[in-house]
Structures are given as C-alpha cells and as structure tokens.
Symmetry: C2
Amino acid sequence: MPLGPSFPDLASLDLFVSVVELGSVSAAARVHGVAQPSASSRLKHLERQVGLQLLDRSPAGTTPTDAGIVFAGWAEQILRAAHELQAGLAAFRAEQHGRLRIAASFTIAEYLLPQWLQSFSQEHPADSVALEVANSAHVIERLRAGDADLGFIETPSQVPDLSERVVEHDQLVAVVAPGHPWATRTLVPVEALAATPLVTREAGSGTREALESALEARGLTAPPAVLELGSTSAVRSAVLLGNSPTVISRLAVADELAAGSLVEVSIEGLAIDRDLRAVWAPGHPLPPLATDLLASIG
Amino acid sequence: MPLGPSFPDLASLDLFVSVVELGSVSAAARVHGVAQPSASSRLKHLERQVGLQLLDRSPAGTTPTDAGIVFAGWAEQILRAAHELQAGLAAFRAEQHGRLRIAASFTIAEYLLPQWLQSFSQEHPADSVALEVANSAHVIERLRAGDADLGFIETPSQVPDLSERVVEHDQLVAVVAPGHPWATRTLVPVEALAATPLVTREAGSGTREALESALEARGLTAPPAVLELGSTSAVRSAVLLGNSPTVISRLAVADELAAGSLVEVSIEGLAIDRDLRAVWAPGHPLPPLATDLLASIG
DNA sequence: TGGTGTCATAGGTTGAGGCTATAACTGATC
DNA sequence: GATCAGTTATAGCCTCAACCTATGACACCA
C-alpha cells in the first residue's frame, strides 16, 4: 500500500532532525547547503503537512516541542535506513574499483550488509567497498578467480579450499497471516506443510533449495509454489490475502514477526538452520580492510 | 550528516517497490494514482540517480534486475520506517478523538509504539488510536483522570491502584565511541563512570533519574552532564567526536551497537534494568481494542 | 489479424521551492 | 545603555522539475 499523498519529504525530515540536533534553523540550513529562508519555509511546510507544531522558535534559537522530540526519533529511523541504502548503493556502484571487493548472496546483501557497510564507511571514509551480489556458488567462483577479496554465503555445507568464519545465524521459518488456522496451533506436522501450496520469495533460490533438501531428508517432496514473487512486501501481501503460508528466511520477516503482522508457525521436526559465513581464499592473504570489516561485524 | 544531494525520493522508492511487486509500471502507476508516463519517467530518473539499471523493461511487463531485487529490499526498509512514522503521526493527530486513547512515556513512544501502532492499524483499519506522550508520572495522572484508556510507563516501582503488565524489558547501558579507551576494557569500575562527565540525551528525564538513583545507592553522585542534547543522533555525534561516554536506553542505541558504530561498556556492579509496563485503571474495564493491542504486543 | 496489454517519447503547463533583500527581535558585550 | 552578532519571518521574483494528454512502437493471445 502506497504512502500517504502528503507524506513528508526525506530532505525535510533530514533538515528537521538537523534543526533538533543543532538547535538552530540557520545552522541546519548551512549544513544542508540551502539559504535560511528556504529552510524556514520547508519546516513550516513540514509542520502543516503533519498537522502538528514540532518546533518552538525564538530569536534566540529553535527547540523541539514534546511532539517534535518524538517525531525526530521516528524520523531518525527512516534516515538510518536511508543511510544504509546509500552505503549499499555506493558499494554497488563501485563495482571493480573498490579497495575491498565483496561478493555476497542475496539474503546477506539485503538484510545484513547495509548496516555493516554503513558503519564501515564511517570508520574508513577514504576507502571504498565494491559489492557484487550473486548466489553462493558464484560467490565462491569469484573468490577462486581472485575477483573478490571477501565473500558471504549461506550454503549449509563447508567449502574446501576456502577459509571461513561464521558471522551470523539464520533460520527458515514458516509464517502465516494472524487469521490463518495454523496461527493458533502449537505444532504443525511436516506432512501438512508438504501438502500445502506455498507463496515463495524466490530471489536467491538458496532458500528454495534448503527447503527442498530438508523435506527430501524426510522422504517428502517440496510443495508446489502457488506464487513466486520478487519482493518481501509482495510475499507479505500475498500471505495476508491469499491465506497461503510461506517459508522464508527469518531475517526477511523479523520485523513483521516482532510487530505481529505475521505469525511464525512451528513445523514439527523441521528446523532449517543455516550458518551465514564469511569466506575467503587462504592463498591471497586477507586485506587489512577485510580484517577490519570482519572485526566490526563481531 | 545530511543525506546525499541526489538521494532518491520516498515517492520514487515507493513506486519502484510497487513495480517490483506488481511486475508492471502501468499497474504501479494506477495504484499510486499517477499517469503511466509520469511513473515511467520517475523510474528512469531514479535509475539515473542511483547509477544502476534496476529494471528490465519489455512490452510484456517489467521485472527487476539482480541489483533491482536487492535495491528493492533496501528500499522496503525505508518504507517500513516511513509507514511506522505515518501510523505514529495519525495517533498524534487523533488527540482526544481516538477510539483508543494511549498515553506513553518518551522512550516507549519513540522506539516501541510505532511498530505496535502500524500492525494494529492494519488489523483495525476503522479504529483510530490517539497518542499522548508525557513522563511516567503524567501518564499515571491521565489514567486516573480517565483521560486515557491505556498507559505505557518505564518507572521501576509498582503503581498502586493500577493494573499492569510487563510488555518489554529495557536497560540503561554505557556506550562510547569505538576509539575510546574504555571500548577495549572488559570492565570499568562505577567510580570511573561517576567521575566522568557525560553526554546525555535528556528527553524523558526518566533515564537521568534512573542513573542518579542507581549511583546514589552506591554512595556516589551522578557525574555532571557535559552536554544535554535533544536527539539520539546528536548524542551519537557528540559521543563520537567529544570522546565522552553516554548512558542511555539500550533501545535507543540497539542499531548502533549492532552495527558497531558505538560500543557498549560494562560498568562493574552497575546494571540498571527496568521493566516497561502497560498500565490501566482497573475501575474502567479495559476496552476490547486495548486488549487486542496488548495481545498483539505478545 | 484484431484486440489488449505493455512501455517510451513529445509538447505544453503549472506550481513548488529556491534565492536575495529586508525587517523584527534577543542576548551578550563593551 | 548602546552596539553587535546571532536568531527567525516575510516579500517578491524566478526557474526548473514534474505532471498530464496524446501518440507511437512493440508483444502476446485468441
């Protein structure tokens, strides 16, 4: 569902947060490279858009109202996500020209990497990171060929010839809409899952593969996909409307599960854990930048 | 630090995600209430801004490229935060006219409530929620006066005359910049903290109070504040630049800690836990909407 | 071989938002 | 107390970005 027609501008939110931080419209205007009257008018427009008084202005400076303080917190969440996108974008654009070349699988690139990249770029403003996204097999290829310094993959098996370190843990989980009959059951048998058509994300087919092999290990075949979609929010709408479950990386639906807009279903005897691992070629010694990145991931 | 000058528009990101979901520029244009050529040109502009080809167009429809898939995932994170802000905003505007009147403390309103409100408004599109933000004492007042149906507070002590339920757990943590000497120490004594000037957020003074009373319990007085700031990102910059620690709600810095842009410091013998609690007047029976909300919080 | 869908281009119009210049006010300093 | 450096708001002008309608080119299905 689209955003409201008069939703505030990213630039205005950014400007507003700067005003709260700096205590002055003029100072914020300077930081943003615009004239003070422009900033002033943008802020007035912002307040009219949201229908709240956000700032107390005085000839001595500007401070947020109570509503403004809370609003600034909410706006910061948006801006944080925006900065992460910006960091990811820079890495995408850098392609082969980066000082540190990363190849990552889809899931990792979407949900983990932006945060890493953003904090990395804050600590190493001079060094650019190049990002390439591909399935796990291709990531390994790139490392072997020396076209990437550091890879991130999600395959369950170990890779010979490569050094590795587990950096994160993921699970495939079954989720349904809150109104679905499964939502209230404590345990659903595997057979029921295998017999139910699924909505699938089907971007990196790594998740699909993992589901299939887990079911085959129990002598079952994976259920047919009733729909294959290209984005998480498409999956979410389809699950909500279509009454079908989906099996998807927990990372992709962590927020929905926390908010309760999707419900996790325990499948009896089916736990698909997978380690997300950093990998690199032991021949080429790991560049210092890569070591720094791995260290900051924790 | 401000966003880049040519950062994509929220509306364009929203449009792009819709295209990925629907597989068609025309369909996305319809959903967004704009003409197809406008959508087409906005998307082309978006691709020029980010410097990447995001879509494969054909007379049969439009599908995202690999980069487009990942980009859509990043964009969805921004849009999620935007929708949360929108839900919070609606609650702010509703003031006294909402069917469910909530009064919440600053920390809860900033970091927890938007997510709850968003999933709630999806499940109850007809019912509006009114939000008022105040310190914990004032929240209790509003409940007693019957001006609010449900309150959320963060005071450590129990409140007589009110029913309550713990909904979340919070901690005050000490954090420093990654380069700070404390960042590598395993344990810092309380006395060192009490002797060090702090940067503080100082929005809801609940956090300040909690720190003071915890220190006083050990016979210490709280350190002077070297700076009092109005927003989390202001605190973050001050901590990074000024080499001072801060003591702040873990909720407020959870993302920074995860990304490694701030580092948590364990203070010896100082653990300030506090329960975040929903409270309501037992006299007035809890409205069904409030029950639903509490249930979805989990 | 229409018909219905897709997307792109062209041309014209409008309005939002920017800038400069100025005014009104506060608080600190001399 | 007067001046100076700081703050924000208003007025007027201008430009360019973004929209819409109309049209064209191409693909797929019946």
